[in-house]
């Protein structure tokens, strides 16, 4: 055994004494005397970060403040990312590129306030980076650069418990928004803390803190008191390696032969490099552009530009015995294809179960993994061999070692053979048919007679609607289109369609009667399609003047943010995907969000929205969301648009609240919406379909947009528009127009009573208590952070069906801490305020007390089996019987 110790004049962070008193093994790292590990060791520190929270002193990193005129131009010129896209309150990963397309360093750029940037660089490069920036500054005489590395400390808290620990200190309102790279400034015990949702561990929950150096020991001690585990550089390295994050000197910089590793060899480069025109001719642009082109080609398996990006960083998992270390050679057959850039053995928590039921077993395991710089032509799952002390050991290219998309945990991903799940039923066709029938009977009886159904986006249909949905039109086609030569009369393409034609005409009339407005398009078969049709129609309308050129997309869109209840169908990741332009400044879809009230994130801040509209001039404003407690301020915004003469199309996606249209909730067209979309099966009484309605008169300019809506429905989106449910929807519309008064009042009364009762039994109900928490059919109950998935599962075991919901401050659905409940379906089955109070107690029994109430709930449901707010079956018993026999 040989041990080497290198000690010289090393720098110490402000927390150096803390490390010593915690018994840390100290090492030289980039000229700093830093903790390699504490008493428990690297493995324990790594595992503690993944299971609870790790605490890191990262004060050795360089911190430069950039301010003054020309700051942005300076950053755009010297960094690879688009600093112009960085709004105050966010951070971005970036490279400090050189002219050869390699990296002088990688860095994080933070913008806590509008007038100042904070750039964090690697400890070992701090002095070189500083000298480089000083040289570059000569071209930017008014830009000031300050080295704050000494005056400001930096601490990192990472892992699933980090959020709770931080909340204990600064309160729930003191955290940055639950978005990657979000920032905020909080103060606690009279000290100012700058907080960032950033980190170097791959943890979905992790925070980095900037504070006055003198305050660092105070914060460090507080975190330790709250249970954070101190983590040294050893585990910091294994954590980042498991997360696949590059380390300068390994995956970035120069390779062992002294040649530049192209920046785009790193998978993260696509997020760290921008070729936006706003960056003009920044350092390294030319070479980076070539690398980017090469990368795009490589993805298409086109290797013509391979010389610009001959090797890429790829993660590997070792299949054979041993550990592949930095520098070890990688082979494919006899050919040497690259080398290991980082490699070690890392620990992980074993898991069991599938999907949302995945759990840590408490057992631990080790795995030999790493990153390598190898021939760009290799792909995931390709086998390679790594030479370990003269022996070739099998390894495989893997896409990643860890995933962070199921907060609050980072989950280890192991290469495993793909298995076909054995859920298929064996046996002959007859047995399969029997099995399906029996299960469908069981499922229907359970949901219709034993369960309390509280999913706000669902509805049971009346017996009449249900039967009509299965009648002959369900097997037919009835494509039709208005023909100008016949004064826009609808022409049907098939025979035998007179009945369905009359149904469609009647349905339009009923829906216009219900919604107000002037036009209805009932052929869309879902709410999501309704929105997609509107977006497609708007693009069509915007380009109506010149159809020979490439069509332009919708300009800026204003909508509700996904984390504040906005629905996917109004998001760029959903139905808006191909229809909204990319903002040249942010290089992201040009979507801005409704600001919300600080004290109530469920309510739009009208005053702030006016400012957003004034600044961004959205071409389309989309009201409506799927977590909805309040009316949308349609009238206020319409008035503002009118005053300011801003021509935005106002769409109200009423998906959830379509059945509440009227004086007890909202009247969208009276309040000023141009278009209403919705799904017909949430608060409305229909089978599952969508609807689009408009309010323009034929003589108005924008009527052309309505014509586009019709065209983008047919032939744009549907050929056959599912005639069985169209027939059912007409009956549902009759029911709604007949019973809306009493139904809508009952729904809102029940929701308020339910919310109040849930509050009274000791549950935390979201919203404004002054209005009994809700103005819709929905109630949001806050259970506990990341515990709602489990709560919803337990409620289901007790015959209460609802859905878990991420509240506005939570990171994603797997971290959901809330339940979303809707009263509309059970209101239809006759439940009243008193019954909802009883139900509130059952929910408390299950969620808080862990009691089993399965049988009690099933018995309770038996009191509510007859559908209300529909025509009594015995009124037409002969016809109903005939319909039934015809099914």
């Amino acid at each position: 055994m040989k041990e080497k110790m290198i000690m010289g004049e090393l720098l110490k962070t402000v927390l150096h004494d803390r490390h010593a008193s915690l018994g840390a093994a100290m090492v030289d790292f980039g000229g700093w005397h830093m903790p390699l590990q504490y008493r428990t060791g690297i493995v324990e520190e790594h595992l503690a970060t993944r299971k609870s929270a790790g605490l890191f002193d990262v004060s050795h990193m360089g911190r430069f403040i950039v301010r003054g005129a020309g700051s942005l131009a300076f950053l755009q010129h010297t960094l690879s990312n688009n600093a112009a896209a960085l709004d105050a309150g966010f951070a971005q990963y970036t490279m400090i590129p050189n002219m050869q397309g390699g990296a002088l360093d990688d860095a994080y750029l933070y913008r806590f306030t509008p007038d100042e940037y904070l750039l964090v660089v690697n400890a070992a490069n701090r002095e070189a980076d500083w000298r480089y920036f000083q040289e570059m500054l000569t071209g930017f005489p008014e830009t000031k650069l300050e080295d704050a590395s000494g005056s400001m400390a930096m601490i990192s808290l990472q892992g699933p418990s980090s959020r709770a620990i931080l909340e204990e200190l600064v309160g729930p309102g003191g955290l940055p928004e639950p978005l990657k790279n979000a920032l905020c400034t909080a103060s606690f015990q009279g000290k100012t803390l700058r907080i960032a949702r950033t980190g170097y561990t791959g943890e979905p929950l992790g925070f980095e803190f900037f504070l006055a150096a003198a305050d660092a020991p105070w914060l460090w001690d507080l975190f330790l008191e709250k249970g954070a585990v101190p983590v040294g550089l050893g585990a910091r390295d294994t954590l980042r390696l498991e997360a696949g994050l590059p380390l300068f000197g390994h995956e970035l910089g120069k390779d062992p032969d002294g040649s530049e590793i192209p920046v785009f060899a790193c998978p993260l480069a696509r997020f760290a490099v921008s070729l936006s025109p706003l960056k003009e001719n920044f350092i390294g642009r030319e070479r980076l552009a070539l690398q980017w082109e090469a990368l795009k080609r490589i993805q298409d398996e086109d290797y013509r530009s391979l010389e610009d990006l001959p090797r890429r960083i790829m993660p590997f998992a070792l299949r054979g015995k041993g550990i592949a270390r930095t520098g070890f050679r990688v082979f494919q057959g006899v050919k040497e294809i690259g080398f290991v850039t980082s490699g070690t053995m890392v620990p992980y928590w074993k898991t069991e179960g599938e999907g949302l039921s995945t759990r840590f077993t408490g057992e631990r395991e080790m795995r030999a993994i790493g990153l390598m710089l190898i021939d760009s032509r290799l792909k995931k799952d390709d086998p390679v061999e790594i030479e370990i002390r003269g022996n070739r050991v099998d390894a495989v290219v893997v896409p990643w070692h860890l995933r962070s998309d199921a907060p609050p945990y980072a989950m280890p991903i192991l290469p495993r053979p793909t298995e076909v799940s054995g859920k298929a039923i064996s046996g002959a066709g007859r047995e399969k048919a029997f099995d399906l029938l029996a299960k469908a009977v069981r499922n229907t009886l359970w949901r219709q007679t034993e369960c309390i159904n509280l999913i706000p986006s669902e509805q049971s249909v009346s017996p009449m609607v249900r039967r009509l949905t299965a009648m002959d039109p369900a097997c037919r086609y009835a494509e039709h289109r208005a023909i100008r030569s016949y004064y826009d009369a609808d022409v049907f393409y098939y025979q035998g369609t007179d009945f369905i034609e009359s149904v469609e005409i009647l349905l339009k009339e009923e829906m216009i009667r219900y919604l107000g407005g002037r036009k209805v398009e009932p052929r869309v078969i879902s709410g999501q399609m309704a929105n997609a049709v509107v977006f497609s129609a708007l693009v069509d309308y915007l380009n109506r003047g010149d159809r020979k050129k490439e069509p332009r997309r919708i300009g800026t869109v204003l909508n509700n943010h996904l984390i504040r209840g906005g629905h996917l169908s109004a998001q760029p990741m959903g139905a808006l995907h191909n229809f909204v332009r990319i903002d040249p400044r942010t290089e992201k879809p040009a979507v801005v969000n409704f600001p919300v009230l600080p004290e109530n994130p469920y309510r739009i801040d009208v005053e702030a929205t006016r400012r957003v509209i004034d600044e961004h001039r959205p071409e389309l404003i989309i009201f409506g969301k799927s977590m909805v407690l309040h009316r949308e301020p349609v009238r206020e915004i319409r008035d503002f648009l009118r005053e300011q003469k801003i021509e935005s199309v106002v769409l109200y996606d009423m998906a959830h609240v379509l059945g509440l249209v009227g004086p007890y909730f909202q009247e969208p067209f009276i309040e000023g919406a141009d278009l209403v979309t919705g799904s017909t099966h949430k608060t409305f009484f229909g089978p599952q379909r969508g609807i689009v309605a408009g309010n323009w008169r034929e003589e108005e300019k924008q009527y052309a947009l309505w014509e586009s809506v019709e065209n983008r429905t047919f032939p744009g989106s549907v050929s056959n528009h599912h005639l069985g449910t169209l027939l059912g929807l007409l009956m549902a519309a009759y029911e709604m127009n007949c019973f809306r008064e009493t139904y809508q009042q009952a729904v809102i009364r029940n929701a308020k009573a339910f919310a109040g009762a849930l509050h009274d039994v000791g549950l935390r109900v979201a919203g404004d208590p002054a209005i009994s928490f809700t103005e819709t059919h929905q109630v949001i109950v806050e259970v506990e952070y990341a515990k709602a998935v489990e709560a919803a599962r337990r409620l289901e075991e007790n015959n209460i069906i609802c859905n878990y919901q991420a509240a506005p401050d939570e990171e994603g659905f797997t971290a959901a801490g809330a339940l979303r409940l809707g009263v509309q379906e059970m209101t239809r089955f006759g439940m009243g305020p008193e019954d909802f109070r009883t139900l509130a107690q059952y929910i408390r029994d299950v969620v808080v007390d862990g009691r089993s109430v399965r049988e009690e709930v099933a018995a309770f449901r038996k009191r509510f089996l007859a559908m209300r707010y529909c025509f009594a079956e015995d009124m037409f018993s002969d016809l109903m019987e005939k319909l039934h026999r015809l099914i």
Partner: protein, 134 residues
């Protein structure tokens, strides 16, 4: 990390300057790494042992011990033939940390020179060297 005084060094064993221990068992010698070595290495995650029957000269590498951070070679404290290796170490390298003188032993050797063991450092001499190192 342990202080030198905290390092466990059984009196009945002999030690090499390269941090191996040797225990005489009849005409065989049992070899492992010292408490000091395992403590310095930290979590040991991989061990590579020689094949039985191989003759290894004093000072030559007989095993490789890897922690998360480092790869360390173990040098033969005396010349001889490997007559047995501790198989369970391959699956459970952490035994080297938990029990360096017990379940964490590494190899059994038939020394060329039966008197070689007695020429190695005593616990006292080894500890003195550690203090000099530290």
């Amino acid at each position: 990390m342990k202080k030198i005084e905290e390092i466990v060094l059984p009196e009945e064993l002999r030690y090499s300057a390269d941090h191996e221990w040797v225990g005489q068992e009849g005409d065989r010698a049992r070899v492992g790494i010292t408490d000091y070595a395992q403590d310095q290495l930290g979590d040991i995650v991989y061990v590579e042992l020689p094949t039985v029957g191989k003759h290894i000269a004093q000072g030559a590498v007989f095993a490789t011990v890897e922690s998360v951070k480092s790869v360390s070679e173990c040098f033969m404290p005396l010349s001889g033939e490997i007559t047995a290796v501790n198989g369970p170490l391959s699956d459970d390298p952490v035994l080297l940390n938990q029990s360096p003188y017990g379940e964490g032993w590494m190899v059994l050797v038939k020394p060329d020179d039966p008197a070689a063991v007695s020429k190695l450092l005593t616990a006292e001499a080894y500890r003195a060297r550690l203090k000099g190192d530290a």
